[in-house]
């Protein structure tokens, strides 16, 4: 049956795509284990603490999902832009600007009676829009002046950081002594308690919805086809009648909207306010890892987000339960990204396979 072989091919491609990320993860975890041993701590106790922290009880697993939700969004954001050949390293800034927009809608707008259900929807939309606009600046500058989006989005991250700080301090907080904005009105909250005893909130459904939407846009629409064509070869895409400029701007804006949703969902589901921040939260940088480990595929992104969510979650718990320094988690994350990035490191695997194919032919 031809259909049968097609599925076999999909499976084979899937397994092949997973080789490098899985190897990188194993080596990354091994590096972490090594660090734990160097620190003179018990790796077995640390592993047990890791498991208990991540999935020991339903409420623990709920908290792991809480850490996973923003990473699904930021991972999707980086992956989406990457499909168009764009490196969105500006997720952190887009995340911050979205939080500001959510505070504006969630604090200063009161829904008329009977329309309370509209509040979260509008707040999410405001967050997505703010993220899209902030990322759009990089997209437009890239399309219009050919300026590399990496540089622009790094600069915009910092401008966003200070802009958010300025808005918070001058306009969004009740008084000078408070290090956070006004609280969101309850109507703008995403409800918690999906798993009893954890803070798992309905943002999970928004995240899974985003996964489906991104999959449809990328693989089932002409926009997705155009975006992937530009990512594959801008020259060929232009020759084929695709507007490269339009694709670049749209891809960056959609990526920014996803990054914005990360900030919106976190604000509406967990914090219920915008907390003063002197540095980036790091979800954007983790998103790079999530996208790469997930092989730029929406389903892969969910799996990778779970991995990084579990790592984020386990840090404080391993510190408390097995006295393992929290920094081990950063080392593992850095190592995983590094080993995925240096894909060429693993080329000996490919070479051997090629040799085998040649000899069997």
């Amino acid at each position: 049956m031809p259909n049968d072989s097609r599925w076999k091919q999909v499976l084979k491609d899937g397994l092949e795509a997973l080789t490098v990320p899985v190897l990188a993860t194993i080596v990354g975890l091994a590096v972490g284990m090594l660090a734990i041993i160097i620190a003179g701590k018990d790796p077995v106790a640390a592993s047990r603490a890791f498991y208990r922290a991540v999935a020991g009880e339903p409420r623990m697993f709920g908290e792991t999902l809480v850490s996973t939700i923003p990473l699904i969004f930021t991972g999707l954001a980086v992956a989406f832009a990457y499909r168009c050949g764009l490196f969105n390293i500006g997720v952190e800034g887009q995340y911050l600007m979205a939080q500001i927009a959510v505070v504006v809608v969630g604090v200063f707008w009161t829904p008329p009676p009977g329309l309370a259900w509209l509040h979260p929807i509008l707040a999410l939309a405001a967050g997505a829009l703010a993220g899209a606009l902030w990322a759009g600046i990089s997209g437009v500058l890239k399309a219009w002046r050919g300026i590399h989006e990496v540089i622009n989005s790094i600069m915009l991250n910092y401008v966003g950081l200070f802009m958010a700080d300025w808005l918070l301090k001058y306009y969004l907080r009740p008084d000078n002594s408070r290090a956070a904005s006004f609280d969101l009105q309850k109507t703008a909250w995403l409800q918690q308690g999906l798993i009893e005893g954890s803070r798992l909130h309905t943002g999970l459904w928004v995240a899974l919805g985003a996964v489906v939407v991104v999959w449809i846009i990328l693989f089932k629409t002409s926009l997705g086809y155009e975006i992937r064509s530009v990512g594959f070869s801008p020259g060929a895409a232009e020759y084929g009648g695709i507007s490269v400029a339009k694709s670049l701007i749209l891809a960056m804006a959609i990526s920014g909207a996803l990054a914005g949703l990360a900030g919106a969902v976190q604000t509406m589901g967990i914090n219920h306010r915008f907390n003063e921040t002197a540095a980036f939260v790091g979800y954007g940088f983790d998103g790079i890892a999530v996208a790469l480990v997930g092989r730029l595929h929406p389903v892969g992104v969910v799996l990778a987000a779970l991995l990084f969510g579990a790592l984020d979650r386990s840090g404080p718990m391993m510190q408390a339960m097995a006295d393992v320094p929290k920094a081990v988690v950063w080392i593992v994350q850095g190592a995983v990204i590094f080993f995925v990035a240096a894909e060429g490191l693993w080329s000996f695997l490919k070479k051997r396979r090629v040799k085998k194919e040649v000899t069997t032919a």
């Binding site: 002046r145 910092y158 540095a279 080392i331 850095g334 990204i337 990035a341 060429g344 490191l345």
Partner: protein, 294 residues
């Protein structure tokens, strides 16, 4: 009174420009050879740690200085191997190194001194004439770097590798060797930049003490058009904007939010890139891995 204010401002400007300039010079060597280096932040942080660690175990700040260079070069070496030998995406590799550096320095703080916030005090590099020695070092090295890049055959080769590696290869220049030199030099300078924070400004290591300075240095590289003297101008400008912010506060002028001064380097860099301040042109092969075809 006005002269006192001006000289205070000048000293504050030089002081904040110094770590930026050192890191920026490193960035220039790396990017001129064709390797994008957003790992400056992590290299700087590791260098700051290395300076304190070696100063601590030897009791000698000069050994600390060498240690900073050593640790900086090791970190840059990771980036070099990944991006030159294994053709990694340089931005991803740089991001990984920034994360690794945060984890590594924090881990080592915990391991060696058993504390998370910072290290104990160690011997620091002395001041000369009221200014940190690093100030003279940074501005001196800027001129040396300019000379090396634009007035020596080595500089010409380094730049050619960043502009057109294939052509350089054809005339017998070892592209890989030149790129390793560029990236490892960014480790030397990044390490010095870190040392200027930890055993220059302070005499200890503080968690996350590079605090985004590596990214401002990257902005200075671009704003200064990948030229050491340009970067020197840019870091002076950035340093002045930082000092002006503090000065305004001291004089009680508070209707200008400090955040606007903090934003200045980034906004100016974007304007420069967009062509509103002056054209900024990156080396043509910056960020493109070179694969030798034989």
């Amino acid at each position: 009174m006005i002269w006192v204010a001006l000289s205070t401002l000048l000293i504050a400007t030089l002081r904040s420009a110094t770590p930026l300039l050192l890191a920026a010079l490193g960035g220039i060597f790396s990017e001129r050879s064709g390797v994008v280096n957003i790992a400056l932040e992590g290299i700087m942080l590791s260098g700051a740690w290395g300076a304190v660690f070696f100063s601590y175990i030897s009791g000698n700040a000069w050994v600390g200085l060498l240690g900073a260079i050593l640790v900086g070069v090791l970190m840059a070496g990771l980036h070099a191997v990944a991006s030159i030998k294994y053709h990694a995406d340089q931005v991803v590799s740089g991001t990984a190194i920034n994360l690794l550096a945060t984890g590594f320095t924090e881990f080592m703080l915990n391991r060696i001194w058993g504390q998370a916030g910072g290290s104990p005090s160690v011997a620091a590099i002395p001041n000369v004439g009221g200014l940190s020695l690093f100030v003279y070092l940074a501005f001196g090295l800027a001129i040396v770097s300019w000379f090396a890049l634009y007035r020596t055959p080595w500089g010409l080769r380094l730049r050619s590798v960043g502009e057109h590696p294939l052509a350089a290869d054809t005339v017998g220049i070892n592209v890989y060797k030149m790129r390793y030199a560029g990236v490892l030099l960014s480790g030397v300078f990044g390490g010095l930049a870190g040392a200027s924070l930890s055993i220059g400004l302070l005499s200890r290591f503080v968690h996350g003490m590079s605090a985004g300075k590596g990214f401002i240095a990257l902005a200075a590289v671009i704003f200064g058009n990948w030229n050491p003297l340009g970067a020197m101008g840019a870091t002076l400008l950035f340093g002045a904007s930082e000092s002006l912010g503090t000065m305004f506060q001291i004089f009680g002028i508070e209707n200008v939010p400090t955040q606007f001064f903090a934003m200045t380097p980034y906004v100016l860099t974007m304007l420069a890139l967009a062509g509103f301040v002056g054209r900024s042109v990156a080396p043509a092969a910056d960020g493109v891995p070179y694969k030798k075809t034989t």
